[in-house]
Amino acid sequence: MSILLFAESQQGKLKKGSYELCSYGFALAQQQNTSLTIVTINCEETDQLAQYGASKLINLKAKVGYFEANTYASALVDIAKSEQSKIIVISSSADAKYMGGILAGKLQAGYVTNVVELPSTSEPLTVKHSVFSNKAFANTTLTGKIHIIGLANNVLEETTQSSSTTVEQQDTQVAIKCTQSSVEQIQGKATIADADVVVSGGRGLKGPENWGLIEDLADVLGAATACSKPVSDMGWRPHSEHVGQTGKPVATNLYIAVGISGAIQHIAGVNASKVKVVINTDPEAPFFKAADYGIVGDAFEVLPKLTEKLKARS
């Protein structure tokens, strides 16, 4: 009956969001008066999850070197059955959302993504989650027999417990549906999905040749770089950097928007970020209404100064 939680890793290393997820899992287990079982797959850092209050920590060895959604979902289905879990907790990363639908289908489970809090009621289970691209929240009751909660990114503080859990190693069968033929992973740089800070540029930068200004600021902050939709549509930057409603979602601690006026679709995609700073020459830019801090000024003057001062500070 324990709560089953899937902590993601990539190339053996735990993903940053896994610690937040495990903290949520333990709080949920406390609330539901049950225990927590954490599952990892092909993870080499399982020991780091020992302090999250789980009564069981299972590391599965799958004979597939990449994230194969069907294999991962099948493995979790087996464990959910043997643990008789009624609640399964996963993250809202691109991988987790890829796998989550398969998992829900296989278990015939109710599934809610982008959940932002612990359930407000237990019988039945009611969870709050963001909808309409962060323009609203819905309170949804899970009415099935098995429930999957997809926790939104960056919504709660990490907490560890004093007790420690030992790790069990298990093998799992592979059920490969898709074969990876090549992969390109950003190395040594923060990504939009896991960065604490994202620096984003819009049309105000005037051209791709000026992106050095964005990259320099991102470098001193250890930030990921992103862009607005027009910038990716004009081919100044790759699509993978487009953030907003039809691009990548951003839920970071600090989002710095430079030369982005703030179309409603852009703001929707980045609004889950905690602190938003807007730098724009136009004091009427709608983004200032959604921002926490703002500078009305020219990016070409403000950015080098900001980068310089942050560099001097560190």
């Binding site: 829900a104 309409f132 691209s133 609203a136 929240f137 309170n139 898709c178 033929s181 999905a193 409603i264």
Partner: protein, 248 residues
């Protein structure tokens, strides 16, 4: 090749979101409904495949008659047949259940559904269909090439891309990148006239019960006004970020 594109109808991306009846329901008044953008990228790719390698493209919607104009638009930009499964789209589980049931008696080589709808942002329907029908599935698909009975798909991951190959039948979660924004088609008069002659089936739904129910909506708390810092006082901004917001 037979392609099925699953379409969701969503409020236009610029819509103001409001609720009614004590915040229990979404207020549709004054809202323009459109094809979910992630589905439209997929539909456009499907029409491109039809023109390049030959295929039939059917579009499918689970929902009520209010979506018919949106389905007609899909016919006007090049789909061959529209199907609407006539039942309220209560939750993702019911939608996936209905589509899966339809596919099992009407097989397709390629099924396309948007990676998420921009209204409820569930991101779960394509994966559920994959599980229900035991299909290979590639989500966040930004590139798709078909070669005979196999497909090569590029998936956008957190912080990278991977190329996956799978055998047909296959389902993909479509998104921007599969086609460019500029590739999206606007119905022309000829297309609109032709759409009137194309088959449009309304089929009864199978029995299916939802697994989730929305009890209420809420809006985010209103935001405090922005704190403006003079452009010549960068130190103040750094100070605020460090000591007030505590994000540096």
């Amino acid at each position: 090749m037979k392609i099925l594109v699953c379409l969701s109808c969503v409020p236009d991306t610029t819509s103001k979101i409001n609720f009614k009846d004590n915040d229990k329901f979404f207020d549709e008044q004054g809202v323009q409904f459109v094809i979910n953008p992630n589905d439209e990228f997929g539909l456009t790719r499907a029409i491109w495949l039809k023109e390049k390698i030959g295929a039939t493209v059917d579009v499918l919607h689970v929902g009520e008659a209010s979506a018919d104009p949106t389905l007609r638009k899909a016919l006007a930009i090049g789909a061959d047949k529209a199907i609407r499964i006539d039942t309220p789209a209560t939750d993702a589980f019911v939608v996936a259940d209905q589509i899966s049931d339809f596919i099992q008696s009407n097989p397709y080589n390629l099924i396309i559904a948007g990676r998420e709808s921009i209204d409820y942002n569930g991101s779960m329907v394509p994966g559920m269909i994959a599980a229900n029908c035991d299909l290979a599935f590639v989500n966040n698909c930004v590139k798709l090439e078909i070669d005979g009975s196999s497909a090569s798909c590029t998936r956008e991951m957190d912080g990278g891309m991977e190329v996956l190959s799978a055998d047909l039948p296959l389902i993909i979660g479509s998104q921007k990148g599969l086609v460019e924004e500029t590739d999206l088609r606007i119905p022309n008069m000829r297309g609109i006239m032709q759409a009137r002659q194309k088959p449009f089936e309304v089929v009864p739904a199978k029995e299916s019960s939802p697994k989730t129910a929305i009890s209420s909506f809420e809006k985010p708390a209103p935001k405090a006004a922005v704190k403006l810092v003079p452009a010549d006082n960068i130190d103040q901004l750094i100070d605020l970020l460090q000591n007030e917001a505590k994000v540096l």
